[in-house]
């Protein structure tokens, strides 16, 4: 029991995945509750933060979400009430925001700026993997196999790929706005609807008869723990948002063994290690026969990867606790301090302005 250590769980935000994020956040907050003093913090749509004891239950997230407004600085939480109350020192923060400013590195940067140890991926990996195009560039440079692609920024852009292709808005998650284009005739209409979601669209060749797999990784001490490769949504069609999150559609967990499984795990490890990532991530892959293609990386995966390492809640709780403790091990600032001490030099000391 470490009830004196305060852990903040962030969730919500203004992305399309707000509701899923609430589910992930409430789930993680409840898992950590018995080990730490957990403060669930909801990112309001108006760019503020709020918290309430009722945020441990999904029922608090109906139409009106009521909570006390809070903010962060000096590694502490401040509560806006009748008086501005200085809160307690924060031991670590866990990010459960899917999509938007929660996942693209902004929140990681905010916490770094406020001096809050962060248990989720840092700014660089979050920012790169948020953008499907940057992800492609990174995969190419690391020699990770990935499908051929093309970047469309305007409706006039014609892909140099053979149809069918898939259009993906570059910075949205959870299959939102993703559509298949069967032939040249459909192209113009589909690309313009994809460009309505984002001004950059990743166009990718469509793989027939493929299977999909996911694999999660996190850092524990000096080692990178990689989960088994697990088959996700097998089949021909692209899964829509509703299908992905409807519990009735939930399928049995199937592990992928053998060379294919190992290759998926290797790719995940490489991507994680080479971006100096911390926290828990989930990589998604396509499998066609024996070939493996890296699809994308989620730096805040749904339910924080529950079901990939284990289906047992007690073991998932241990993983979350490992993430929190890992956040404390990370150096919060650069190792060696360097001060040029320019401002104290003779010619500047005592001057009242910067005129020369």
């Amino acid at each position: 029991m470490q009830k004196n250590k305060t852990v903040v769980v962030f969730f919500g935000g203004d992305s399309y995945e707000r509701e899923v994020s609430v589910i992930t956040g409430v789930f993680c907050a409840n898992l950590l509750k018995e080990r730490y003093r957990v403060i669930p913090v909801y990112l309001n749509e108006d760019n503020g933060f709020s918290t309430s004891d009722r945020f441990f239950s999904l029922s608090a997230f109906g139409k009106e979400i009521e909570g006390k407004r809070v903010s962060f600085a000096f590694g502490e939480m401040f509560v806006f009430g009748k008086s501005f109350k200085r809160g307690e020192k924060i031991y670590a923060a866990l990010n459960c925001c899917h999509g938007g400013a929660g996942e693209d590195g902004s929140l990681s940067g905010y916490c770094a700026l406020c001096g809050i140890p962060f248990a989720s991926p840092p700014v660089p990996s979050s920012a790169i993997f948020m953008d499907k195009v940057y992800t492609k560039y990174l995969a190419l440079s690391l020699g990770i196999p990935t499908l051929k692609f093309f970047v469309a920024r305007r409706e006039e852009d014609i892909p140099n790929l053979s149809f069918p292709v898939v259009c993906k808005p570059a910075r949205l998650g959870s299959s939102i706005g993703i559509q298949r284009v069967e032939n040249q005739g459909e192209w113009e209409q589909k690309i313009s609807s994809a460009l309505a979601f984002d001004d950059k669209v990743l166009v990718e060749e469509y793989l027939l008869n493929k299977r999909e797999a996911t694999c999660a990784a996190y850092r524990k001490g000096d080692e990178i723990v990689v989960s088994p490769a697990v088959e996700s949504f097998a089949g021909e069609e692209i899964y829509s948002f509703a299908e992905k999150y409807d519990p009735a559609q939930k399928r049995e967990r199937t592990e992928i063994s053998g060379a294919v499984g190992e290759r998926i795990r290797d790719c995940t490890r490489t991507l994680y290690a080479q971006t100096d990532c911390t926290g828990l991530v989930r990589a998604d892959f396509f499998i066609a026969g024996e070939e493996v293609y890296f699809n994308e990386m989620n730096t805040v995966p749904g339910s924080l990867g529950y079901g990939l390492f284990t289906e047992r809640l007690t073991e998932q709780r241990e993983i979350l606790c490992d993430l929190v403790e890992q956040a404390r091990l990370l150096p919060q600032r650069q190792k060696a301090q360097f001060m040029a001490d320019i401002l104290n030099k003779k010619e500047y000391s005592g001057s009242t302005s910067c005129k020369f």
């Binding site: 409840n30 898992l31 289906e311 047992r312 809640l313 007690t314 709780r317």
Partner: protein, 232 residues
């Protein structure tokens, strides 16, 4: 006697005992979750769900005997057991007779009589008085809602059940016991769970915040976490 049951998953046996007036399906969420790591069996007690009706007014002891026969016929030896409310009465009775369970989880356990105060005696007096004038009126207007819905045979059984205090039986339980009690439980209040926790030698009481008598429905995540931690 035929009992309706369902069985799911592989591994160590985990058996669910439902409460009075309920059935095995009330544990569907828990069955779904625990079947990933255990062989889960849930059954309907006689007189409930799809099981056979009672041949005569059963006491807690009769329920315990039938359950024991059922478990041995299923080849279930020394299982983990999760028992709710009335199911906890049966589980306590069984565990007291023989050390038949490996570990036992009681949630909202019934079987402690501590509310026989003046108000209770007044209610009994009122019932007996009314019975003198009209049995039908007395039966229709007295007693708990749970009691009034029952068939005459079940009513007889119900009286036997609720009038048995299980403190002595609880003392003889040898296996480790976890008691999960909702803090807002009005059917079997927290003080009764505390009595159980003090009486059973190897008992641990966990009070579940914002939960009622049905803690496993109010907060399935916390319930499943506590149970899993206790069983592993």
């Amino acid at each position: 006697m035929e009992l309706s049951y369902l069985s799911k998953g592989k591994g160590k046996d985990l058996v669910f005992f439902h409460g009075y007036g309920a059935n095995k399906e009330c544990f569907l969420r828990q069955i779904d979750y625990f079947s990933r790591s255990y062989k889960v069996t849930a059954f309907d007690f006689p007189g409930f769900g799809k099981s056979d009706a009672l041949p005569f007014p059963f006491s807690v002891g009769d329920y315990a005997a039938v359950t024991e026969t059922f478990l041995s016929r299923q080849g279930i030896i020394k299982p983990f057991v999760v028992a709710h409310s009335f199911g906890a009465r049966v589980a306590v009775k069984m565990a007291a007779q023989k050390d038949v369970f490996d570990r036992l989880v009681l949630t909202g356990p019934a079987g402690i009589i501590d509310n026989r105060n003046a108000a209770y005696r007044l209610k009994i007096f009122k019932y007996r008085l009314l019975r003198r004038f009209s049995v039908r009126y007395a039966e229709a207007h007295c007693g708990s809602k749970e009691y009034r819905c029952l068939s005459p045979l079940m009513k007889e059984s119900y009286k036997k059940i609720v009038n048995e205090d299980l403190r002595l039986a609880a003392k003889r339980i040898r296996c480790p016991v976890l008691i999960l009690e909702g803090e807002k439980d009005s059917a079997t209040p927290l003080r009764q769970a505390k009595i159980y926790a003090e009486t059973i030698p190897k008992a641990k009481l966990v009070v579940m915040k914002n939960c009622t008598h049905f803690a496993f429905l109010d907060d399935p995540l916390a319930f499943q976490l506590s149970v899993e931690e206790f069983l592993s």
